[in-house]
Amino acid sequence: MIIGLFNHWVVIILMMIGLYIVIAHGNLIKKLVGLTIFQTSVFIFYISIAKVDGGTAPILADGITQYSNPLPHVLILTAIVVGIATTALGLSLVVRIKETYKSIEEEEIQQQDNEEQLTKHKTEDSA
């Protein structure tokens, strides 16, 4: 059992490391790095379930009978594209956030927002 499932377990550990970075880190770029790792690990999971022992790459050739499953490969090709699209959009948001907030740390941005809210309410109350 250990040998049969070892692969999956390691992949799960990888996913969780990615997820941990996304949740625990306050730096916006680091979060995106974590997101990439999380997604890539899910890709690794899909690809490793497609593997057949003794199989080979699913490109037909003479003299080969056993191929790995092509369908997860197709799915992951699509998912990789989705991943890069998300990363690109996230990064462009980070650039704009840096320009307007002068910071890319979650805490500092949150703080600035709160302060702005407070001052606005104060002026309104006094008015």
């Binding site: 996913m15 997820l19 996304v22 916006l28 979060k31 997101l35 999380f38 997604q39 899910v42 999971f45 899909y46 379930i49 369908l71 997860p72 799915l75 699509t78 998912a79 989705v82 699209a85 998300t86 959009l89 996230g90 948001l93 980070v94 704009r96 956030i97 307007t100 907030y101 941005i109 927002d113 309410h121 309104e124 008015a127």
Partner: protein, 492 residues
């Protein structure tokens, strides 16, 4: 062409998006996207008609048979959702050109419409498809365009809200991807109908259980269900008003649809409600969501925030109806999806008009608006009444069905709690009414004019629909009930 309706439904806005980019003249692009969205609406009406007459329509893409190729499968539930989404999108688009004048820089108009159409495509695609992985792909189309649209908001908070939504949304989508992967691993298929055939064989395995949990959690993240709702209020409040109107009316409905589709059609009723205590869990979360979100809404100073929190509360009602897992309960949920789309569409469009005239939607700036913008404010009031669930509005119909469903099951205390929750809605709606009608304007010298006609037409279309479907409930109830019955496998 009539047999190709399911694919045309999705393809029309999809192909229109790149064409818009080529046109690149703001007026022209607007007309064109309106045309595409209207066409989609027309197709959805035809589809619903066809489904009501002839039952499930299956469309095999590429001519490949179902588990090998991708299948579009339209039943009553899909057709109903397609109608809501494309209808709201068309109505909202009418006001778009005027509204974005004040909120989006001129050189970004074309991008706005392209993204809007793509977002519409994504939602329609999620709803129409019968393939689990295809759901993921179209989910990402709609989410990516949503992130960009939200980030177009004027204030810098829009960027931050969009970023948070991006992180949460991507985690949710990846969870769904994991869930689909596990399902696929146990059954070897991605087609939903095929999955529902093959899953019962392996229903006892722990893997299927985990895949179910992951799909549900992922969908709930997208759904902004109570403990996972943190991204929603800011995203709605800081997005351009047109975008808010569109998303508030449709985006969460799509997520609710996914929830229903996966629990009822893919995993099957008995599996979904027996392996984990889904009923108690969702009932509890739904109720807590209603109370906490409504209570938070009362203390907001920004009207968009008020209604964003109210949206979370309304999702609570849908979840409660869903968790009953009876035909009436599900009918109530479906009706509420339709009704909520109508009322939130009207309210947020009216807020867009207020932003157009006043510049912002802080509660203080509503002073005196009752007299200055009578038609717009009347729309907000009627929408608010509908939120509360006053008779003769649509809100009443769905609340009525929800209460009936609860009483059917003999759950009186929960029915009482739901009524109490509606009382909270009275409070926050009253706050707006009070400020708008009974307080003198901030500055008497500034004359605020009534909203332009291009706003009033869509707003009042929705408001009249609000009242019409509140009085003549035959059509909406018939469709919702039919959809619910078909999900339970009961012949009508």
């Amino acid at each position: 062409m009539i047999t190709h309706l399911p694919i045309l439904q999705v393809i029309t806005p999809l192909m229109a998006a790149p064409i818009c980019l080529l046109l690149n003249r703001s007026q022209l692009v607007w007309m064109f996207s309106l045309l595409a969205s209207g066409l989609a609406f027309l197709i959805s009406i035809l589809l619903l008609q066809q489904v009501m007459i002839s039952g499930v329509i299956s469309y095999e893409l590429g001519g490949w048979q179902a588990p090998w190729g991708i299948e579009y499968r339209i039943d009553k539930l899909n057709a109903f959702l397609l109608l809501i989404i494309s209808g709201i999108s068309t109505v909202v688009l009418v006001a778009a050109q005027t509204s974005i004048e004040k909120e989006i820089p001129k050189d970004k108009y074309t991008y706005f419409y392209v993204l809007y159409l793509l977002s519409l495509t994504g939602m329609l695609g999620i709803v129409a498809t019968g393939d689990a992985f295809n759901v993921f792909v179209f989910l990402e189309i709609s989410s990516l365009s949503a992130y960009a649209l939200i980030a177009m908001g004027q204030k810098r908070q829009a960027l931050w809200a969009s970023y948070q939504y991006l992180i949460m949304g991507t985690i949710g989508a990846t969870f769904i991807l994991i869930g689909i992967g596990l399902m696929y691993q146990m059954t070897g298929t991605l087609n939903m109908a095929d999955l529902s055939q093959r899953l019962p064989e392996v229903a006892q395995t722990r893997t299927v259980f985990v895949s179910f949990v992951f799909v549900i959690v992922g969908v709930c993240l997208k759904l902004a269900m109570f403990p996972l709702h943190l991204w929603l209020p800011n995203a709605y409040a800081y997005a351009p008003s047109i975008v808010t109107a569109f998303f508030a009316a449709t985006a969460t409905k799509v997520a609710v649809y996914l929830l229903i589709r996966f629990t009822f059609s893919v995993f099957g009723l008995s599996f979904s409600f027996t392996t984990i205590p889904l009923q108690t869990l969702f009932m509890a979360l739904g109720l807590i969501g209603i109370f906490i979100a409504s209570a938070t809404a009362i203390y907001q100073k920004n009207v968009k925030h008020i209604f964003a929190y109210s949206s979370i509360a309304q999702i609570g009602y849908m979840i409660v109806g869903f968790s009953l897992s009876t035909v009436t309960g599900l009918t109530a949920t479906l009706l509420h999806m339709f009704n909520h789309a109508l009322m939130k569409g009207a309210i947020f469009l009216a807020l867009a008009a207020v932003i157009y005239r006043v510049g912002n939607v802080e509660l203080n700036h509503f002073r005196g608006l009752g007299r200055q913008m009578p038609l717009t404010m009347a729309a907000i009031v009627i929408g608010g009444l509908s939120l509360i669930g006053v008779p003769l509005t649509v809100g009443f119909v769905s609340k009525w069905y929800l209460l009936t469903a609860l009483v059917e099951q003999g759950w009186w205390p929960i029915a009482v709690l739901i009524l109490l929750g509606s009382m909270l809605a009275v409070v926050y709606v009253w706050r707006i009414v009070e400020v708008a009608y009974f307080k003198a304007p901030l500055d008497e010298n500034i004359k605020v004019k009534e909203a332009p006609v291009s706003f009033l037409i869509p707003i009042w279309t929705l408001v009249i629909a609000n009242i019409y479907f509140g009085i003549d409930t035959r059509l909406s109830v018939q469709v919702a009930k039919g959809a619910a019955q078909s999900l339970f496998g009961v012949s009508p």
